[in-house]
Symmetry: C2
């Protein structure tokens, strides 16, 4: 199977003159889980060697990504010096950060123990991953900011992890995944939102993860492409749950960033929520304004994978409803479905829209 | 709990001069399951009396609709002569068909044995329901057309039911529900699509039903409103499954109508499918064109519950992408969230758009 991935231009001398950008979805990887050992107690080192990690994970039966793209990565992203894509800061700098003029890069590590069923192991791995991000990434390149990964199925433990890093200047946000044991608006997760808001950190909800449920209300699909499309519906369900459970009403300072789940659905979701809320508002008395208002005030969206409608003006229309200040550029480096900043937004933008979307919206949100 | 439902104007003398409309989602109800007995064998009559029906149904633990709206219905829809809303053709005529100038009404009966776990019972009840529609509804009012309800979890049995009614002029479409045991593109359901296409009948997929799965990829939500919003995501998953499984590629004459699941999401879904299909098309080699093309050619949408965005022009923009010829007006009579044709489409329309959306699109689709 030969997956169609367009060749990308080599880094050129012009790169330095390009507009500086923020990349709000970069995936750093461990070379090996042993990189976490300096921050894992003997107990957890032995546990990992003896038991490994256990997830609610149908992916254990097959690849989470197309097999033709090992590590879900661009074929050209394997570091020449060895190791897997995303594991080598020097190569990431040469291949992505420098040529694409990344002025602010948000790290979203994914294989971190989040969602693993042993909650104490999850907490230990998340702590070690956060330490590793500082030691190996943000401490070595000031353009990068880390995400506080948390053992999200245990709200109080996750809140403690956020509090631990709250005053550390290298952390830009808290990171959750979108498919959890219960919808993310449920109260088991509220300590996360309260701690993040108290720390002044946005909460990013990245696509993927797994809570035991199929991505479709009709059960298990057949195709990888169906899962990739389904992440948008999963993201819609996350936003609906956060709004309707009153999370934003209860935690007014909370800012949420939906990552890799798309954004073109936002308006349709808001309209449907508003329509039903007008008649059913007594069911959710904590809401003091329409669901769409909570979305407009509290939710941001990253671009990748950016929709490419024909005619293209429809893309601008969807962003116009969301707000040009709420869209954050992201590449998903080093993953195979990387959006190239030179080509990713096929729209005529005003200079203000371009600067906001590619850089300033992220600087404002992350205070960076 | 006092649910907000706007008062509706009484039928007036002007009604007759109003534009004639098609209503593509009217729900007729049995006064009692005994109304089906003329078409049920002694065996199934005894079965119903002894065992009842068994569904994959969490709703058995609580109301499927707000309890304050018994039978999910408008409070003014209870027939003065007795019986439940939707069960009395005379009252439906006086309250809805005549004053709203319904020239074509598509019946979508919902409590029909579809999805019941005993497949033979499901088939028997569907047959009886189809007979009942002709005897009690379409045979008495020529404005009405029936839907062939089928035991959809058994594809061959469902196809036989469609073939039985294929040449009967009172049937406008085949009716499925959106939440099934597997995604509706799976091959167990293909005999339904083949039989419907052969009979020249569109397949309507109405929101609701239940296959055992939560409506969200993150598990079980808390609120009725969350379920109502989630029907849109369930509808998205149905369309994705039909497109990506190659159902439209294999059955080129198939026409699908998405009912009560919204339509404003259609463009966002199409764009996300296209984006991933460009890179992953080898996974779905049956597709000979982009997923969005299959949607444009094969899918129609009913309006209710119509989105009411601010500013309203966004609604026109979403319809523009879908195609003005693909939107079918529907009220959901007698349900509590009925859309009034006098108020339901808060848009400035051209005369051609108005005639298409309120009447001609349905006449063309249903050849009625």
């Amino acid at each position: 199977m030969n997956i169609h991935v367009a060749a990308r231009p080599a880094a050129t001398a012009e790169a330095a003159s390009r507009l500086a950008i923020a990349d709000c979805d970069i995936h750093p990887r461990l070379k090996s889980v042993k990189q976490l050992y300096p921050w894992l107690s003997q107990r957890w080192q032995e546990h990992l060697a003896t038991f490994g990690t256990t997830y609610r994970q149908p992916w254990q039966k097959g690849p989470a990504y197309p097999k033709a793209q090992p590590q879900a990565s661009r074929r050209d992203a394997w570091p020449p010096g060895g190791g897997i894509p995303g594991s080598d800061l020097g190569f990431m700098t040469a291949q992505h950060l420098d040529p694409n003029n990344v002025a602010l890069g948000i790290l979203n590590p994914l294989q971190t123990g989040q969602g693993t069923q042993n909650i104490d192991l999850s907490a230990a791995m998340c702590r070690a991953t956060n330490e590793w991000q500082v030691a190996e990434w943000t401490g070595k390149d000031s353009r990068l900011r880390a995400s506080v990964v948390v053992p999200y199925e245990d709200g109080p433990a996750a809140a403690r992890e956020i509090e631990h890093w709250a005053s550390h200047p290298h952390f830009a946000q808290v990171l959750l995944l979108s498919r959890t044991a219960e919808p993310l608006g449920h109260r088991r997760y509220w300590p996360i939102y309260e701690a993040a808001a108290a720390a002044g950190l946005p909460v990013a909800v990245h696509a993927f993860g797994y809570g035991g449920w199929p991505i479709s209300a009709g059960g298990w699909g057949s195709f990888y492409i169906e899962e990739m499309v389904g992440h948008a519906q999963a993201a819609e369900a996350v936003v609906a749950s956060l709004v309707l459970e009153g999370v934003f009403a209860r935690v007014p300072a909370l800012r949420v960033v939906m990552v890799e789940g798309g954004s073109a659905w936002a308006a349709a979701l808001a309209w449907r929520m508003d329509k039903h809320w007008k008649k059913l508002r007594q069911e959710v008395p904590e809401l003091s304004m329409a669901p769409s208002e909570y979305m407009r005030r509290h939710v941001w969206y990253t671009t990748q994978p950016i929709e490419e409608p024909e005619p293209r003006r429809h893309l601008a229309e969807t962003i116009e409803w969301i707000g040009w200040d709420r869209i954050l550029f992201a590449t998903d480096y080093p993953h195979w479905d990387f959006d190239d900043p030179a080509q990713a937004l096929p729209l005529r933008l005003t200079e203000a829209q371009r600067r906001g979307l590619f850089l300033e919206n992220a600087r404002t949100l992350y205070r960076a």
